[in-house]
């Protein structure tokens, strides 16, 4: 078999191109997969928390509980605010009394399992507040573990719980690395932040976003490049909580600190 220089070069180029095509490019996709991949759903909800703006007033927690009918005096909440006080001995004092529902009105801080403490201001190196809520993960572990299909991810990326279907086994509560799930004291089913699904789908903001006077909480559509929240997430230095878990949270934080867990 003879081989001219021209054929050799041609075949080399062809071979190189063929080798560069990944196997996944040859996979047959179902129409739904293609639709999802090209972004047929035009909405993907994302959240931006600016911890540098939070003053710990707790209006967000109050609004959330009332809006979503979470029993007001029960020690459970869909969103909460944590206080971090770092002292000169590099110790982090963290508390969130009643989830910060009534705001932080005293310097007294109560760490888990320790007596309340009054830290003198000269001992403090930094102190700040961090609002927490469901991260509406792209890979929600809480959904993976549900044995009955009672919790799921909506096409616009929000994780919801079907109260008529939940059997109350509590797997999802154990699975969530962020501890956002709890049992609803009245319905005895798993309960979590829904990004105020009834509000955002009507064009409103979530109750916590509306209640925040300082703009520390914002919600937007991550699929819309002109959305101010999407722009801020793309242009500012943001982080997510517990990145190492691979859950891909859709709640982004500005001003996270090493001690925030």
């Amino acid at each position: 078999m003879s081989c001219s220089r021209r054929t050799l070069l041609k075949n080399t180029v062809k071979g190189a191109i063929a080798g560069a095509v990944p196997l996944s490019a040859l996979k047959f996709l179902s129409p739904t997969e293609v639709k999802a991949a090209i972004g047929d759903a035009k909405v993907r909800w994302g959240f931006l928390v600016d911890t540098t703006k939070c003053v710990g007033c707790g209006f967000c927690v109050k609004a959330c509980k009332k809006e979503n009918e979470v029993p007001y005096d029960a020690p459970v909440t869909r969103t909460w605010v944590e206080r971090y006080v770092i002292t000169k001995d590099k110790k982090a004092h963290i508390d969130s009394p009643m989830g910060g529902r009534d705001g932080f009105t005293s310097r007294q801080i109560k760490d888990d399992g320790e007596p309340p403490e009054n830290i003198p201001p000269e001992e403090i190196t930094k102190a700040f507040f961090v609002p927490k809520l469901c991260n509406q993960c792209e890979n929600p572990v809480c959904v993976q573990v549900c044995p009955v299909g009672a919790t799921y991810q909506t096409p616009d990326g929000v994780v919801l719980v079907d109260r008529t279907w939940c059997i109350g086994c509590g797997y999802c509560i154990m699975a969530c690395p962020y501890g956002v799930r709890f049992f609803h004291p009245k319905y005895h089913t798993a309960e979590k932040c829904t990004f105020c699904y009834h509000r955002i789908t009507k064009g409103l903001k979530t109750a916590c976003v509306d209640a925040c006077p300082f703009g520390a909480r914002r919600i937007g559509n991550l699929k819309d490049p002109n959305d101010p929240v999407t722009k801020a997430i793309l242009s500012e230095r943001v982080a997510v909580l517990k990145d190492e878990y691979g859950t891909k949270p859709q709640v982004f934080y500005i001003g996270l600190d090493y001690d925030v867990r």
Partner: protein, 161 residues
């Protein structure tokens, strides 16, 4: 085949058939795998589709300040011109729900604790809290209501009524 083999076999078949029949009636028709963020995924998209609508139907309680401005335009204009313009009406007055039909009147929270949410001085330099005028609740007219001296719709001491 022998009878003692067939009998339990029939029993098992009837048992399975009964389960399948019950499942047919109990499981709603919209329960199944639906397309979502991960395409058609059994892991993330196995659910009753009607539940999405159920959540959408949940009642909105916080209606926003534009609703208040429709009737309470004077009070609205007042707070809009003050440093408290960033605070939503419903933060202090409670959720409107179907006001003025239900509830007919909103209960006004005049408590000291409400003001202290922002104005208690914690001495934390980093958070935005330090930028807000703060008091020591134990020193600053302890026991008295803030609203006796300060108008929450116009808290500026210069314009104090």
């Amino acid at each position: 085949m022998k009878n003692h083999v067939l009998r339990p076999l029939w029993l098992a078949i009837v048992f399975v058939a009964a389960i399948l029949l019950a499942r047919y009636y109990v499981v709603p028709s919209d329960f199944g795998v639906h397309p979502g963020v991960h395409g058609k995924s059994f892991t993330y998209g196995f659910y009753r589709q009607g539940d999405i609508q159920d959540w959408k139907n949940f009642k909105v309680k916080y209606r926003g300040r534009d609703l208040c401005a429709d009737c309470h335009d004077k009070e609205f204009a007042k707070i809009k011109a003050s440093p408290h313009s960033i605070i939503q009406c419903e933060n202090c007055h409670g959720p409107a729900i179907d006001h003025p039909d239900n509830p007919a009147t909103l209960k006004i929270n005049r408590s000291r604790a409400l003001c202290l949410r922002c104005h208690a001085d914690l001495g934390y330099p980093d958070s935005n809290r330090a930028q807000i005028p703060g008091i020591d609740p134990k020193e600053h007219n302890a026991g008295e209501a803030c609203v006796d001296c300060h108008n929450p719709h116009n808290p500026d001491l210069e314009d104090m009524e």
